[in-house]
């Protein structure tokens, strides 16, 4: 995990360097913005991994004698089968189709997205399949 953090932070340093070179060669605000934020993309992942690595004991990939199975913890609860993603997907499709068709379809679609998302979020919090 520490190596992963270093890789991402190194990426951030590289993109910052490229952004500086790009700015002095082009004075283009749009491209420089995109490059600086690419450094942000890499940097925020690297920063999070570094902070997390420092809060945890050494991970298997930090130890020379680490085994692959050690990096395979209990992943928690996963849904074996669910219609909820398809329902949210259809509701999202209706919402975005509304952008091309009519404003009221967007409003109706947004309500459907919230309703289907609620079904997804609470699927294992009620009924016969209740887990939590």
């Amino acid at each position: 995990m520490k190596l992963a953090a270093k890789l991402f932070l190194g990426g951030a340093a590289f993109y910052l360097l490229v952004a500086a070179v790009y700015w002095f060669m082009s004075h283009d605000e749009a491209g420089t913005t995109a490059l600086v934020l690419t450094a942000g993309l890499s940097g925020m992942v690297g920063f999070y991994l570094l902070v997390t690595a420092n809060r945890l004991p050494d991970q298997p990939d930090d130890r020379p004698n680490g085994e692959i199975w050690e990096a395979d913890p209990d992943y928690g609860h996963f849904s074996p089968h669910s219609w909820a993603p398809l329902m949210v997907g259809v509701a999202s499709a209706i919402t975005f189709a509304g952008l091309a068709l009519a404003a009221w379809i967007v409003a109706a679609g947004a309500v459907l997205v919230i309703m289907t998302s609620a079904y997804w979020v609470f699927e294992y919090y009620h009924g016969p399949n209740r887990q939590f």
Binding site: E29, A30, A34, G40, Y48, P73, G76, F122
Partner: protein, 196 residues
């Protein structure tokens, strides 16, 4: 060897939290496109910018920004409560965060209504209108989605029979999202209202 949330005494990184951060880094690139668009239109239409940035009510937006920033503080206090396993504390702070976020969105709607009615600035009226509404509008949609996420987290914490890792993880990753959207707003505020 149980998977613990960042607040307990975990042995392994929380996969949901790592996944959320990686997703947020892609969200950063989504906003990078919007920032780049704003700077491109600004560089090619300096006269439109000189005239239409005067429509902005900077003191009003500053107050609104302070409300959003303070909601990040209350959100983090909720996370601290969640990490302690203090369910009631988490619920109270998250409800307050929700209210502050809703006030921010209300302020933004008020600002839009004023700009459209009094100044005639719309999405299609000028390059400045397009840049202003697309950047602040997409951010506003993100805040609104965050408000819905807060409702889900709060409602789920009431619905669950026991307060476990699932609820704490949901509360913590929602706070990551909220802080991210808050930081993006600070950058947007600097670009639109300070730099203009």
């Amino acid at each position: 060897m149980t998977q613990a949330h960042p607040g307990a005494h975990p042995v392994h990184p929380n996969k949901t939290a790592v996944g959320t951060i990686i997703w947020l880094s892609s969200e950063l690139m989504f906003f990078a496109g919007l920032f780049a668009m704003y700077f491109t239109l600004r560089a090619t239409n300096p006269e439109v910018w000189a005239e239409e940035t005067q429509f902005l009510n900077v003191p009003f937006s500053t107050v609104n920004t302070l409300i959003l920033v303070s909601s990040s503080v209350t959100c983090q206090l909720g996370v601290i409560a969640a990490e302690r396993g203090d369910l009631r504390g988490m619920q109270r702070w998250y409800i307050l965060t929700f209210v502050l976020g809703a006030i921010f969105i209300g302020g933004q709607v008020y600002e839009y209504a004023h700009l459209i009615q009094a100044e005639g600035l719309t999405l299609s009226s000028s390059p400045y209108g397009s840049a202003f509404y697309l950047t602040t509008g997409f951010h506003g949609l993100h805040v609104t989605a965050g408000l819905v996420a807060f409702l889900f987290v709060i409602a789920r914490s009431y619905a669950s029979r026991r307060y476990g890792n699932e609820q704490a993880t949901a509360a913590i990753v929602t706070s990551y999202y909220w802080h991210f959207v808050d930081v993006v707003w600070i950058a947007l505020f600097f670009m639109i209202y300070v730099l203009q």
